[in-house]
Symmetry: D2
Subunit: 338 residues, 4 copies
């Protein structure tokens, strides 16, 4: 922790800070500059996190030196985390995971038809929403438990792992009974009750980045899950909110290699939400794989005209097949497989 | 709903859309322009919300004409909503509400000391967090039910109404037992389970704007609460996330009169979170009152050096007294009182 | 300048940095923490600005301690700058300046009519664009020198000071001949040739904040003008670009008191561009004055239906009169006049 | 153009708008909905651009149907533009252009050394700044004409095309004498005088996207250059400003395929500015090529410790060689070459 003092800070103010630091078991190192004095505090920064040094008289700025996350950091675990989803299905290794399916589970037949197709196209993880977070209370809110049952049944029929979103800490047990992977949506990235709740399970978790979360905040949310005992966390970049309006969100492609540097956790990309336009998905999916992501979440629908949500960003089967074909070539160019 | 077609849209594509519209009970009005054709759909737009017209062949853009919110809109209720918090305490009328207190309830004595002071300064609503949403799992998470008890006890002693945040739908009943007003924090603005939950109570609710929520999304979140039966909703602008880093957030002052135009609900402003710097709070609070807000949420602490959270943005008693004094003059200049 | 080293930084890397610092005439102060080592460099930071210490082996982060601006800072000049625009017209003192007029000078008669009205309403500085920065090459680009002549003539007739935008360093001399105050538009805030150019004149300059400029960058742009010899600079907050789309821009009201703390220069607010909606201008103008601004730039047009630009954000005369009346009350509540 | 009226719009207000439209030579098509009336105006939208219909009584919203750009649009020219830079060097075809060199031309020997290296690595376009836009007036501002001479000399020696930034319309002729390609920097994307100036030359122009420019505004700036007669324009995505602070900017990878859909102009990517961290450049460069860009601008320096600007985002020769090697594989996977 570094404390920059105001130009006219007095000796008394300096002593006041140094005393406080010493009481907390830290060593204070004072550098008196030409214009400003700087105090470096040496020792565990955690004890300082709850001490608002900014309000001490004479303080201009407080700068933490250590990253606030620990368990998720690459310093804590240098080796990439590889998460076992199900027998024969892992995420975080050489093989890039393709997670595909409809935005929402709408009915049994539709889900089965899409699952059959994406499986045939070479994808072995099925996604589909049973509880849907919708901006409007008047929009389709998902089938709830019925949707979970369909997911489980269809997953078993085609030997696919399943992913669905959990929106409320009260639903964690219910959802966990039916699916293999729990997804935390962007709107709930800082729903700390929910994070603690999934942290108390052993289920693999996909943690989507909040629409305006910094990479640091996102890693801190993952830290909540790990700190509660569950290390099976995958991060998912799904586009951030910017001033640009022609796309639904802005895919932060920088975040892919950045997260790889900072953390050992796998990183996925959701090109559907990141663009909101199916016509851009092929290009940005190739970009995501080239940048080093460990998997993709893609919305697929065989009849987008009737989709109950996210039709405009869903790929029809033909385009999904082309996507897989194109991605195999990119994966190969970065020494990975799909 | 207006549908703009691509330049080369065919007659067959136009018929396809018109047929769909008619099946949904809508009338289609076709304008053939020099370069583009536009179809206006007349009838209840709600049936269209779940139909992804963007994916119909030939469609370039779909533009809704009606606002997606209804119950919160000024068209639905032209008159300002005035919410009764407790005997003698209302929000939304001529008197501007001052809601003050520590960020977190830290202990009984501290809360009591601050409450006594803010009451004496003329403020009759006490705020304090018992469940704290913290970015880091290692930070102080609040006293939980113990904090709620302190709030209730102190509120009764000084005859003040009380406000606290509820973070999890499982806690709504518990929190409701102890306090007068439930607060939904910025991070939970789109926690739809929580919104439905507080919608099912009769408690007054303060709904904070999400850190990157548009005004429209914010009103839609309020709509969730009203649509579930609770009309006692106050909106609270608390700063949005922008590229500026010298302040914790950017207070969107435009939103104050804008919300007043669009909605009948009261609008509050939280200058503490909106700036993150106590030195700016006096000025932006005056701005908020001048712009027409119905109340302010201000963090006050009598010893910020020991505050367990948000010390840097808390006012010390002396500054809070000055604030009240300055605000009275501004309130008077806009024909209101404090 | 503070240099945070990576966890595994070697003694050799530390020496390399210390050597470099000493060659530049700085003293290095090394703090060896539990996890990380930090080097504080003492001496003039300017010599370091061109030395990219981030790329030295072992360096994780470089943190400047001193603000990069000097002449604009309140530390350089504690007293508020008051700028004399013309005999009897000053900006930066107790009296809040009202600068009003049409967005663009469209013709002589229209300008004269509006000027006559705003003068009668109590405003003695006239604004009007002769060179217009327009997003589209097909939009009205302004009358050029003809517009400048009208401004001068009308300004003289009504004894008003005049303000107009200069967009190109080649036009500085021309524009200076005709008007009292040069305006640098938001799009040119980092047109450094233009900044140097106006810096070489003695003319008062209004420097608008760039649409996505941080306060620090904005002050640095002002520093360009002062560093070239012209201290007659006024800053103008005119709204920043955010994700919100219901308003043209987001007025950063926090910036008003923040700039007052950091700098001695006067700060103006442009509520017209900051909202883009005439219906919000009255409220946010009151907010700006309450927050402590030194003046307002307001677009006024007596026939917005025929305005060649910015009609939707122009006030008609009746509304401008009401604005002045309302602002007088707010100004009085903060011990100022209009 | 579509005009949505307010709920209570009167027949008189409707007639007023229809009359205005007819005077402008447009046909008005009125759709009376259940809640709102919508007027579609048919005919050339350009005549409406200067008519602020938003201010007409009864109007709620005005929605343009046609894109405001013409010459840059793919509808105007369906085929990709291929720009000839020099004999044997084209941009926009199958071969992806590598434009590399130091951020600033610092001295003759350094430039020569870097040029020799990047040429040997397979790159035939040399970049280097002679006029540098710097946030601080106290930073290195570039060598000016001397730098241009070095660029020309070194370019000739190694048979490379040359690119440099022009910051002021007064310098266009001078810069054009020395280099093959003019670059408009992000800060000048809406310096309309400069755009008109380079539009009047025949020189190829690289137009960088403004730090907070929408894709639409960027295309409009390109339209300025084409409308002034110069069709040799390349767009360059260089990262946009968002709330994320761990990277200098956020590379908008979505913009690459989006611009390809909307426009026939080549699109380049600058991974150096888009990340600000050399450790991310390899990954995001691969992403950019995978997403379909036509070229990359990469900052290379053989001694970043002594670089006068942008050291932290410059690649050292070894890393640049690796980049080229990696990119060849990605280019091959999307049927292109480097």
């Amino acid at each position: 922790m570094i404390i920059v003092l105001k130009s006219g800070a007095t000796e008394e103010q300096i002593s006041h800070i140094v005393d406080k630091a010493q009481k907390l078991g830290l060593k204070a190192n004072i550098s008196r500059g030409v214009e400003k004095t700087v105090i470096g505090l040496i020792g565990p920064e955690d004890v300082l996190r709850v001490t608002p040094l900014e309000v001490f008289p004479g303080v201009e700025q407080v700068i933490p030196v250590l990253a606030p996350y620990k368990l998720v950091s690459r310093e804590f675990q240098p080796k990439n985390t590889v998460i076992k989803i199900k027998d024969g299905i892992e995420i975080g290794g050489t093989k890039i995971a393709m997670i595909a399916g409809p935005c929402a589970v709408e009915n049994y037949e539709g889900l089965r038809r899409i699952a059959k197709f994406v499986k045939a196209a070479g994808c072995n993880i099925l996604r589909g929403g049973a509880f849907k977070p919708r901006t409007s209370p008047y929009d389709f809110q998902g089938l709830g438990e019925e949707g979970l049952k369909y997911l489980k049944e269809v997953g078993q029929e085609f030997d696919m792992a399943t992913v669905t979103e959990v929106m409320d800490s009260r639903d964690i047990d219910l959802v966990s009974k039916y699916v293999d992977v729990l997804q935390i949506g962007a709107r709930n990235m800082q729903n700390f009750s929910l994070l603690k709740g999934v942290g108390a399970t052993y289920k693999p978790v996909i943690l989507k980045r909040g629409i305006s979360a910094t990479v640091k905040e996102w890693l801190m949310s993952a830290e909540y899950i790990l700190a509660n005992g569950n290390f099976n966390v995958m991060l998912c970049e799904r586009g951030i909110r910017t001033f640009e309006t022609m796309t639904r969100n802005t895919l932060d492609i920088n975040a892919v290699p950045l997260v790889k540097q900072l953390s050992h956790l796998p990183i996925l990309v959701d090109p559907s939400h990141a663009t909101g336009r199916w016509g851009l998905i092929n290009s940005v999916s190739k970009a995501a794989v080239a940048a080093g992501c460990d998997g993709l979440l893609v919305e697929v629908h065989d009849n987008p005209e009737e989709a109950l949500s996210d039709g405009p960003q869903s790929l029809v089967p033909k385009n999904f097949e082309n996507l897989i074909k194109d991605l195999k070539r990119i994966a190969d160019a970065v020494d990975r497989t799909i």
